[in-house]
């Protein structure tokens, strides 16, 4: 079937079977290999993408569901800029990346959380990341990275707001 959707801000058309996994559409058809396959049955979260603003497991999502949808993958996080997204920076700074296989999913679950709750509690962070398994870090550094990226994003929003109003003192 011919499927039109938006991927990382750009319109995309693919012609695939409706029962192809979105994970395979991304990796094999669109060559977006940042999305990883871990367990392939919705347990580990390595294949997490953001679909219409919400995290889902792309290994359990059929391609037909993409019709008209808006998808964000790890490749789209920094937009058109060459640099890293503040969440990615924080993951590097805090040492929250070891083997790196879970990282794209962790980062996207973090982004979906911070888009909704710019100042999440530790419990909210734990819940938001409860569908993403990491077998290296023990999660401590990932939690730190989420907290630090939330601060960064709040600061940058504040800066944006202040520069807009001409008030401009940077917090912290």
């Amino acid at each position: 079937m011919v499927i039109h959707f938006t991927c990382n801000g750009k319109p995309v058309t693919v012609d695939v079977d409706g029962d192809m996994r979105v994970l395979d559409v991304l990796r094999d058809v669109l060559d977006l290999t940042g999305t990883k396959e871990g367990c392939g049955e919705g347990e580990c979260g390595a294949c997490t993408i953001i679909l219409n603003g919400k995290t889902v497991n792309s290994c359990l999502l059929y391609a037909g569901k993409l019709q008209g949808a808006v998808v964000e993958t790890i490749e789209g996080l920094s937009g058109d800029s060459a640099g890293l997204h503040p969440i990615q920076e924080s993951f590097l700074e805090e040492g929250a990346v070891q083997c790196g296989f879970c990282t794209p999913g962790m980062v996207l679950s973090t982004k979906a959380l911070l888009d909704r709750h710019p100042d999440p509690s530790i419990k909210e962070i734990e819940t938001a990341l409860s569908g993403n398994f990491c077998r290296c870090t023990g999660y401590g550094k990932i939690m730190k990275a989420v907290v630090s990226s939330a601060e960064k994003l709040r600061d940058s929003r504040e800066d944006g707001h202040q520069s807009g109003t001409g008030l401009g003192v940077k917090r912290g």
């Binding site: 347990e43 979260g45 995290t55 999502l61 059929y62 037909g64 019709q67 569908g131």
Partner: protein
């Protein structure tokens, strides 16, 4: 393969009538089963574009819940009885809850499905539509066994109704698994309670993962009805829980452990529904 996304109930039912269809809702269970079996469906009828299938609405009979309402929406809802939102919150991970639907959880008919015991405790009514017409089935009689329901091949769950009576009162749900998150119930229980001056005017309870289908706890309910709900009554009621359930030993828990767990969980949900200090 054919993948159709009807945007009306009529179009969906008409395609189902031609045969060879697998109904697709969120797909979180179906994708795992299909991949493991290697079977390629002839036709997916993806029902999630039918607008009346998503969301909740209060009507004359009670609260209507569309079958494609996501588990995440149920988990976040304050409109539905508390036991149902608690049951929804217990399912899978955020990613699963965002994609999975309540109709899918019901029609998948896993004995451990965490919205099933709330549906049975709340006497939910399921509206089923096929090319031959429409019928309403009580939650309690809908389930026939693990992954088996009364649904015919060409029949579609179109509406879930929680009667007005059950929007009053209080309710609670609890499940226990081997860890805190992303886990399947070893036992779950839901209770709905109507107290009048501290006395049980009406109570309905149901257990999951203790039999091939979610079970109403009728002997426990009969014992509790008309009694003052204090610590002594709650403790005494646990003896009836044992008579109401039929657990087996399997990969998730032993029969003996499930008996103990059922008592402990029922103790907690009853206290929670009654607003008594608890756990």
């Amino acid at each position: 393969m054919e993948y159709v996304q009807p945007d009306t109930l009529e179009a969906a039912v008409s395609r189902l009538g031609r045969g060879g269809c697998t109904i697709l809702s969120g797909g979180t269970d179906l994708a795992v089963v299909n991949r493991a079996s290697g079977l390629k469906p002839e036709c997916f009828v993806d029902i999630c574009r039918i607008s009346q299938f998503s969301g909740m609405e209060l009507g004359e009979e009670g609260l209507h819940i569309g079958p494609c309402t996501t588990i995440a929406e149920l988990a976040a809802s304050a409109e539905i009885p508390h036991c149902l939102s608690q049951g929804a919150s217990a399912i899978g991970s955020p990613q699963i809850r965002n994609a999975a639907t309540v109709g899918g959880n019901i029609c998948n008919a896993s004995p451990c499905g965490d919205t099933l015991s709330p549906m049975v405790a709340l006497s939910a009514s399921f509206v089923l539509v096929s090319p031959r017409g429409s019928r309403a089935v009580d939650a309690e009689t809908f389930f026939l066994g693990p992954k088996k329901t009364v649904l015919a091949d060409d029949e579609l769950l179109t509406d879930i109704i929680i009667g007005r009576e059950f929007l009053k009162g209080t309710s609670a749900f609890k499940m226990l698994g081997k860890r805190k998150g992303q886990v399947i119930s070893q036992v779950n229980a839901a209770v709905w309670l109507l107290l009048e001056d501290g006395v049980v005017a009406k109570v309905q309870a149901a257990f999951g993962s203790v039999a091939p289908v979610p079970l109403r706890a009728r002997q426990t309910e009969a014992f509790l009805t008309g009694k003052e709900l204090d610590a002594g009554t709650i403790h005494e009621s646990l003896a009836y829980v044992k008579q109401d359930i039929r657990p087996i030993s399997d990969i998730r828990a032993s029969e003996a452990y499930r008996y103990r767990l059922a008592e402990s969980i029922f103790h907690d949900v009853l206290k929670q529904a009654a607003g008594l200090a608890c756990c």
